[in-house]
Symmetry: C2
Subunit: 223 residues, 2 copies
Amino acid sequence: MENLHPADETQERILTEAEILFAQKGFRGVTVREVTEAAHANLASVNYYFGSKQNLYLEVFKKRWLPRARQLNQAFDKNVAGAGSDPPGIPEVVEALARAVLEEGVMSEDERFRHHQLMSRELAEPSDAFDLVIKEAIRPMIEKMTRYFGRASLGRRTDREIALCIFSVMGMVLYFNFARPLISTVTGEPYDKGFMARVVSHIVDFSLYGLLGRKEDAPCSAP
Amino acid sequence: MENLHPADETQERILTEAEILFAQKGFRGVTVREVTEAAHANLASVNYYFGSKQNLYLEVFKKRWLPRARQLNQAFDKNVAGAGSDPPGIPEVVEALARAVLEEGVMSEDERFRHHQLMSRELAEPSDAFDLVIKEAIRPMIEKMTRYFGRASLGRRTDREIALCIFSVMGMVLYFNFARPLISTVTGEPYDKGFMARVVSHIVDFSLYGLLGRKEDAPCSAP
DNA sequence: GTCTATAGCAGGATAGAC
DNA sequence: GTCTATCCTGCTATAGAC
């Protein structure tokens, strides 16, 4: 007779629920009991499949986070290529990035939110997964953008200045994710699709022209 | 005979060490044992003076975080006033903000770092202290900046767009603090005074002119 | 006010039946 | 592979001696 929950499916369910909970409350904030209950699995299953809670956390990054990071990376490439201009200019690259990272595309709004939450936690308080995040996802992305920006000869900026610019853009992007409680409290607006769309075009506009140096009659967010 | 550790001093020591630890590891990551040991106080003293761990956390915000937030706020005002121009322009306001928040002034580098760490944690995962942070520190600051920016008639931006701009600047500022592990790993540079000075001028420049609209070639609104 | 001792509980991990 | 029962550690909070 077949089992109701075959092994590999149980593993998958645990990974799924673990990721949701780790993103919400961080490693320390989550208990193994919580995870297994959410996954409708037995308390012992985490240790059976993953050896320890710590290793489950790492596996969430290896099996779930990393593939999505690569998806985003590909979406970015596709967006840049889709913009047409060759070589792509700064506006095209920045918009491609913001779209890939913030807009509903390959993954759902919730999934993307979790993705950034998990990453933000690692960036602020590194653990086992930090190296993996840096080496496999962030550094390649930064190198790619440095090449784009360098090729477009970004003002007379040095590589070091370009790195600061990239961090600034990343900072805005992540901030609009992790500070959601602040932002919706202060603006009084719901964090919905419409708001996100305004955030994306704001970030593009702000990154390109800042507060003062706007293109005449700039695009910015409409309503 | 006088006591070696009078009551009020013990309270103060506990607050001091608690703040350091909460900033480093968050509420859940810190144990009462850790705090009392660091403060050279008894395990029972946290409950004696503060009632509970949760309330100790809240008191750290009331007694330590808030006064410093007000100091930063005053430093900001002073910087704006010191810039001379009346009414102050956008560049003056942005620079005054970045200086107040990032540069070594009223408080030490470590102290400022802790301050932002504590705040970032609340912004991402609100607890009891969230309302206090918003009402007493962030909202007043945002309102003040909205007035400055509005008075300087920032392009033809609406209040809603101005709010997004303010969040963007805040996002960069906080990101350069909380993502230190990432930034020093990727740049390979130490997070010292020299680096921070470059970060401040980068943030000012980036906020004002973005990637493209630099001073020399893109005057649109009045400086 | 300070300290020791401990109650009382939650958590991660494991042994062993099925 | 799955599940129950349990061990053991480490936590917050408190009682009560000094």
